[in-house]
């Protein structure tokens, strides 16, 4: 079993999920509550990765972060490194690619919270962020949990984006999904089988746990 690849994958998925929680929750709340005219455009932009082949998204991330691009230069000045073929690079791509998988469940959860409760909280002196933390989140956490789990699990299994942006560097950008591909290329079906079975068990366990947790909450 390629423990280096597994460790790297878990690290990538955990960091992706964390960033999506920080960025995705406010973004989803804004999408769920705003009445601004350009909301549909932002909505569409967030959802694009659902329809785009991962390789296409990866390709654009690669092209826009190269050493001669604005983002690439800025990044190398700030952090003394490059984004393509680095862990930070695949993390960035992974966050972008997983945005809809987290934000859409978040947003539908928030939209299901009775608007009057939000208004009531505001009228009771709670600021927007406080209302979010004390009313919206407690009433929509099954949806938030679903979004986070989905993003985590989806990152664990991601292949195209990581390959495009990160290449396949052992210990740096080679995740478990890439390791399986390598194993198959090397005709090491036993290793591929081991890792694949692990991913399968992981996926089923995570989903079962999430659903049962949600069901228990809803039944309350």
């Amino acid at each position: 079993m390629d423990w280096v690849a597994i460790g790297l994958t878990v690290k990538l998925a955990a960091l992706t999920t964390l960033i999506l929680a920080v960025v995705g929750l406010p973004l989803a709340y804004w999408l769920a509550t705003t009445t601004r005219r350009w909301r549909p455009i932002v909505d569409a932009a967030v959802a694009v990765p659902l329809l785009l082949p991962p390789t296409v998204l990866g390709f654009y991330v690669l092209m826009s972060t190269g050493p001669n691009t604005f983002i690439g230069r800025l990044y190398s000045q700030l952090f003394d490194g490059t984004l393509p073929f680095s862990f930070t690079g695949i993390l960035l791509a992974s966050v972008l690619y997983n945005l809809p998988f987290a934000v859409r469940p978040f947003a539908s959860g928030f939209a299901a919270v009775d608007r009057r409760l939000i208004e009531a909280a505001r009228c009771l002196g709670a600021s927007g962020p406080r209302t979010f933390l004390t009313v919206v989140l407690p009433l929509s956490w099954p949806a938030v949990l679903a979004g986070l789990v989905l993003a985590f699990a989806h990152t664990v299994g991601e292949f195209g984006v990581v390959l495009m942006v990160g290449g396949n560097i052992p210990g740096v950008t080679r995740t478990i999904a890439l390791a399986i591909y390598d194993d198959v290329q090397a005709l090491d079906y036993a290793a591929a089988n081991e890792a694949s079975a692990l991913l399968l068990v992981f996926a089923v366990t995570v989903l079962a746990a999430t659903y049962s947790l949600q069901r228990r909450t809803l039944a309350l």
Binding site: R116, R122, L124, G125, A126
Partner: protein, 361 residues
């Protein structure tokens, strides 16, 4: 005295909206009822006062505080206006206990002060023993009390109530109206109540604002507005065929003698003697006679002068003056037999049991 100065226009994207203009001294704990049909825009006015909607034009000011000013691009969000709002179906937080719902507004207060204020409100609103319940485990009346306690926790400058009684069935609503009346008076916070029910205005309001098609059509003391509706729209809103305002002179065995424009009116006592009362009389409950029928069981017999009459389906609607104006609905046949015309003397007769008497603030 602080002045609530309101002059704004608000339009929904659908095109519907309100234009609202009125000034009103606030304080001296006073209750104002916005009376209007559903869809008239009265709730929108309340939402603009609370800061939940942003008027496209005009301003809302309370004393020196500018809450909203379209020209200066000022719009204070609800959490910075210091108002307490009671929502139509209460909007209690389902995930919080009664106790935590009530104390939701606690902000930058020492723990002991929060506990003390919560305890005080639980007592005032008779919520003892329910502290750990969730909103869905409460009756309608209990929910209303929790919502009201929650709204006044921070001692807001204004209390805004959106149709506080419409979520309840009629008997419960009547009961809670009484309760709401005494609670609002005990709280001593100026209250603005939105309602489609004129009974709310008659029982709760010192001042009444009539709202029709997104416009304020009349405002003034409840007595003024109900006595002298200024327009046909206002008259339709104050409705009921006859509304009389008087004072209870005496009460005996539950029956009150109420003085209205010098006349005695008998009805079931809504309060003790000395209180003001509003009397609602439906035209179909008023009978006319040429002579006094002293030997009948009817207690209210007033000498009247016929003012006008007009056919209304199989009936004739007759307006008479008994010192106050009264509307009667009699059959065409009866009207011919009476052979009355404008200026003629007659007797108006109403059973005490068919008069709806309400206690007024």
């Amino acid at each position: 005295m602080t002045l609530l100065d309101v002059d704004f226009e608000f339009k929904y994207r659908s095109g519907a909206g309100v234009a609202c203009r009125w000034r009103d001294p606030v304080g001296d704990p006073r209750v104002t009822v916005f009376l209007g049909a559903s869809g008239s825009g009265k709730t929108t006015i309340l939402r603009c006062l609370a800061g939940l909607e942003r008027p496209q034009r005009g301003h809302v000011r309370l004393g020196d505080h500018v809450w909203s000013d379209a020209v200066r691009r000022i719009h204070l969000p609800p959490d910075r206006r210091d108002v307490g709002v009671l929502f139509q179906d209460y909007a209690l937080f389902p995930h919080l206990t009664v106790e935590r719902n009530v104390a939701f507004g606690a902000r930058q207060m020492p723990h002991a002060a929060v506990a003390a204020r919560t305890a005080e409100l639980l007592d005032t609103f008779r919520l003892r023993g329910l502290e750990q319940r969730r909103p869905r485990q409460l009756s309608g009346g209990q929910q209303q009390r929790v919502a009201l306690a929650r709204a006044v926790f921070r001692r807001p400058k204004l209390l805004l109530l959106d149709e506080p009684l419409s979520a309840l069935d009629r008997p419960t609503g009547d009961e809670l109206r009484e309760e709401l009346r005494s609670l609002i008076r005990a709280l001593a916070i100026p209250a603005y109540i939105v309602s489609h029910d004129r009974v709310d205005a008659l029982t709760l309001a010192d001042r009444t604002v009539l709202v029709d098609h997104g416009q304020i059509v009349q405002s003034g003391t409840t007595q003024e507005v109900f006595d002298r509706p200024a327009s046909p729209a206002a008259a339709r809103l104050v409705g009921v065929d006859t509304i009389l305002l008087g004072r209870i002179a005496s009460v005996e065995d539950g029956l009150a003698r109420i003085i209205v424009a010098g006349q005695d009116v008998r009805a079931q006592a809504p309060a003790d003697s000395g209180h003001d009362a509003a009397l609602l009389i439906r035209a179909e409950d008023v009978a006319l006679a040429r002579h006094d029928v002293a030997d009948s069981s009817v207690m209210n017999r007033w000498r009247a002068t016929v003012i006008a009459h007009a056919p209304e389906g199989p009936f004739v609607r007759v307006a008479v003056d008994c010192g106050f104006r009264l509307s009667a609905l009699v059959t065409r046949d009866a009207w011919h037999r009476l052979a009355l015309g404008p200026g003629d003397e007659a007797w108006a007769i109403v059973k005490a049991a068919s008069i709806r008497a309400l206690a007024r603030n």
